[in-house]
């Protein structure tokens, strides 16, 4: 509950933030803090310098392009996405954000923080992989785009490396999406989750909580049997813990993938 000594800075611009993050090797970005501060309370892992991004207003916007593409600033909170008219262009985003934790966490927790912490039980990593989003990363002096299915590298590890900052997430237009999960209690932490999108014809399914990173599958059709076949084909090796054995998670992955695809194709 009591943190180790840490230093703190609150840069006014993205450039300053990136410079700070690359200047100190123990520096970490502090967005909403809804994961990082809890990890620091347990003193399981401790950054040396916290670079607070909450003054970077230009990372907080949510814009809808004329072609229906959504650009969500990394510092947009879950509540921002739930209440933004623009984000209704892709309704699954707001619907899933509404299932994350509770009001207090959704008021502070950010989209960027969720994907950059990449806890295997998070909702957004599989969702953004399924909808085919693209992450924009700013490093020392250069900006690059990384597709979501190449962004997640390992537990708490993403393509945004030390000294780099995720600035925005671009979501292509689309309507036929689905998300299904089994959680610990109502709207609790996910035991297994699965996201699906039929926007570009053949189904894209991403399963969370079964590996360090979301597992992307492209079943041959959106028939439940085809989707379940694809999941079995992935021969998942999920972790086991208090809430689920590996077998149970493997079984849920099949069921939830099928349900997510059914929801994406307009089924109940």
């Amino acid at each position: 509950m009591l943190l180790r000594d840490v230093e703190y800075a609150r840069p006014a611009s993205v450039e300053d933030a990136v410079r700070l993050l690359s200047e100190f090797d123990g520096a970490r970005a502090l967005a909403g803090g809804q994961t990082l501060i809890n990890v620091m309370k347990a003193r399981a892992a401790s950054p040396d310098v916290l670079v607070d991004l909450n003054d970077l207003d230009d990372l907080k916007g949510i814009e809808l392009g004329s072609d229906g593409t959504l650009e969500i600033g990394a510092m947009a909170t879950y509540t921002d996405v739930m209440t933004s008219a623009e984000a209704r262009a892709r309704p699954i985003l707001g619907e899933v954000c509404a299932q994350i934790a509770d009001v207090q966490v959704r008021n502070r927790g950010t989209i960027g923080g969720n994907v950059c912490s990449n806890d295997p039980t998070n909702h957004l990593p599989p969702l953004l992989v399924a909808v085919g989003a693209t992450m924009t990363i700013v490093g020392a002096g250069e900006e690059r785009s990384v597709p979501a299915d190449e962004f997640f590298l390992g537990v708490y590890m993403t393509a945004a490396g030390p000294g780099e900052l995720l600035t925005k997430i671009t979501v292509p237009p689309g309507k036929s999406d689905g998300f299904a999960s089994v959680t610990i209690g109502k709207e609790g932490t996910c035991i297994v989750n699965a996201a699906a999108s039929l926007s570009d014809g053949s189904p894209r399914v991403a399963i969370g909580c079964v590996d360090a990173v979301p597992v992307l599958l492209q079943p041959s059709s959106s028939e439940a049997s085809a989707v379940r076949e694809a999941v079995r084909g992935a021969s998942l090796m999920p972790p086991s813990d208090v809430h689920a054995s590996a077998d149970y998670r493997r079984h849920l992955a099949e069921v939830l993938a099928a349900r997510a695809v059914t929801q994406a194709s307009g089924g109940k």
């Binding site: 347990a42 003193r43 401790s46 040396d48 390992g154 360090a212 972790p239 208090v242």
Partner: protein, 156 residues
């Protein structure tokens, strides 16, 4: 938690054996190593800051070679003390010649205590395998470096 694996090296067994028994080289394979000191040919220790995405996990690790049969088998005990976690690990490896390369079978029995163990059960497996792949990759580099150095000295 038991982790096992195999690794093939493009180097003669003697070179691989030399790397695996040279603490200064082994230290360089540790993720986030900050410093190490060698007590004797059987014991050495290292200070590491294991890079976990959300912050570094500082740990001081004491290594001790508990068994060896040159050039085919060795066993190491490692005791890591950190705030986020305490680690007790027994690791052993068998080296066998495969043509002009070497085949290593290794296994590690890892016991972790502390907050990382109790709160991280879902992520422990992937984190350990992540760190193991770093170590093996670094080991590859060390073996290549050693065999390159060996070849050049033979060449002279």
């Amino acid at each position: 938690m038991k982790v096992t694996g195999e690794r093939a090296f493009q180097a003669p067994r003697a070179t691989v054996w030399e790397v695996l028994n040279d603490p200064s080289r082994l230290a360089k394979t540790m993720p986030g190593v900050e410093s190490f000191d060698i007590h004797d040919d059987k014991r050495w220790s290292a200070h590491v800051k294991i890079p976990l995405g959300l912050g570094g996990l500082r740990m001081s690790i004491d290594f001790e070679k508990t068994d060896e049969r040159e050039p085919e088998f060795a066993k190491l005990h490692a005791k890591g003390n950190g705030v986020g976690a305490i680690m007790n690990m027994d690791t052993s490896f068998n080296l066998s010649e495969a043509g002009d390369g070497t085949n290593m079978q290794w296994e590690a029995d890892v016991h972790i205590l502390g907050p990382v163990a109790s709160m991280g059960q879902r992520v422990l497996q992937p984190i350990v395998s992540q760190q193991v792949s770093h170590v093996l990759a670094a080991l590859d580099a060390q073996v290549r470096e050693a065999s390159a150095a060996g070849a050049s000295s033979e060449g002279v």
